[in-house]
């Protein structure tokens, strides 16, 4: 997990910090998934999970965000009770909702990819919100539906009916995600590897 981008920031963070951030956010996703869920209609309980997944991407960036979600999924697969509702095991990944879990990792990566590339002027909550919503539409919902079709033998239209239950919750969670991510970046301005060489450190 060597950090591949040669950062020009003054304080170059060690890979140890990268690993700790990846582990910390994997744990954050786990806790968000375990904390009491809101059950709407349908088989998948709604938790803060997708909030935490996209937040991880928006805060850590593409590479570390993707790895953090991957670590979370792998930890659940080997038996830590970290999937929503305290489930765990490889059975969940091959189960009906497994597609969502795989979509999480890619969505966090894409969200981070976009947020990393936001120009400084556009770096605000609405842009992060758009990045999160776009990523979850591209990966979480499509792969989630594919999982329902493959593993639960639903038809695509039935899977769509299940999936659309989450849309409103998704928008709300993405708003919260964007506000939190923006605030956390204000608190820790050197979290993301900035692409362009910075001229001056922003006044903290």
């Amino acid at each position: 997990m060597s950090s591949s981008t040669p950062t020009k920031t003054r304080t170059r963070r060690s890979t140890g910090t990268d690993i700790a951030l990846i582990a910390g956010f994997a744990a954050l996703i786990a806790i968000s998934a375990i904390l009491p869920a809101i059950k709407l209609a349908g088989p998948v309980p709604i938790t803060l999970q997708t909030f935490a997944v996209l937040l991880t991407g928006a805060i850590l960036g593409a590479r570390r965000g993707f790895l953090a979600v991957l670590l979370y999924v792998a930890a659940g697969a080997v038996g830590l009770p970290v999937f929503s509702g305290g489930a765990s095991g490889f059975g969940v990944i091959v189960g009906p909702t497994g597609g969502y879990l795989l979509g999480f990792a890619l969505a966090a990566g894409l969200c981070g990819f976009i947020v990393e590339r936001l120009p400084r002027r556009a770096f605000a909550a609405p842009a992060i919100f758009a990045a999160g919503l776009f990523s979850s539409a591209v990966f979480i919902h499509t792969l989630g539906m594919a999982g329902l079709v493959l593993n639960a033998d639903l038809t695509w239209s039935a899977a769509f009916d299940v999936d659309k239950v989450f849309w409103i919750g998704d928008v709300i969670k993405n708003i919260a995600m964007a506000v939190v991510a923006y605030t956390v970046h204000r608190a820790f301005p050197d979290l993301l590897p900035r692409r362009r060489p910075r001229r001056a450190a922003p006044a903290a």
Partner: protein, 203 residues
């Protein structure tokens, strides 16, 4: 106070416990492929019976096993009803039976295998990926750090919630979420510095 059911591992002396973790993990992966290939409701029922027998043998506490299946029960009922309605009983039994069997088998794995052993297996299995730039030791380190971070993060979440409530902001997402995430980042950085000080995780 919420307690984290960390580690479903139950020490024991059965043959299942003594089997190497790698063998069990491999068996689980192979089974997952086999049950999706083998069709028909009868094999699914047999699979569930077999998996149940293994759970009983592994000495998994009944109450905890049932509790872990509670979440799946909702899915199972909805899925059975849907499949039976659209495609008849045979596919319904097959789909839900296969899923239930896999979940039971995964329970057997986690009951009879310590998480540390599983992490060792993963670290070992990632060996061939070294060429692609994956460092198995770092992956193992990330796993250990995450497991350590779980109780800490839960505590942070509960403390932030209490703090927000004490300020009368128990319903404000900002007051609930921002301090939690800030503390998670700060914690991770402190851990990173501690690793650095011990010469761990760096190039």
């Amino acid at each position: 106070m919420t307690t984290l059911p960390l580690g479903a591992y139950r020490p024991g002396r059965t043959w299942l416990h003594r089997l190497p973790a790698g063998a069990k993990l491999l068996a689980l992966l192979v089974t997952a492929v086999v049950v999706t290939v083998v069709r028909g409701p009868l094999s699914a029922v047999g699979f569930v019976v077999l998996a149940t027998a293994l759970v009983a043998w592994s000495g998994a506490p009944l109450r905890r096993t049932l509790r872990s299946l509670r979440g799946f029960a909702l899915v199972a009922v909805a899925l059975t009803a849907y499949q039976a309605w659209t495609r008849g009983w045979a596919p319904a039994v097959e789909t839900v039976g296969d899923l239930l069997g896999m979940i039971l088998l995964a329970t057997v794995l986690t009951t009879t295998t310590a998480v540390d052993d599983l992490i060792d297996v993963i670290t070992w299995a990632l060996g061939p990926l070294r060429r692609l730039g994956v460092d198995p030791a770092r992956v193992g380190l990330a796993f250990s750090l995450m497991i350590r971070a779980l109780p800490t993060t839960l505590e942070i979440a509960l403390q932030t919630r209490d703090a927000a409530r004490a300020r009368g902001l128990g319903r404000s997402p900002r007051a609930l979420l921002v301090p939690m995430v800030v503390r998670v980042v700060a914690n991770a950085r402190a851990t990173g510095d501690a690793l650095h000080a011990r010469g761990l995780g760096d190039d």
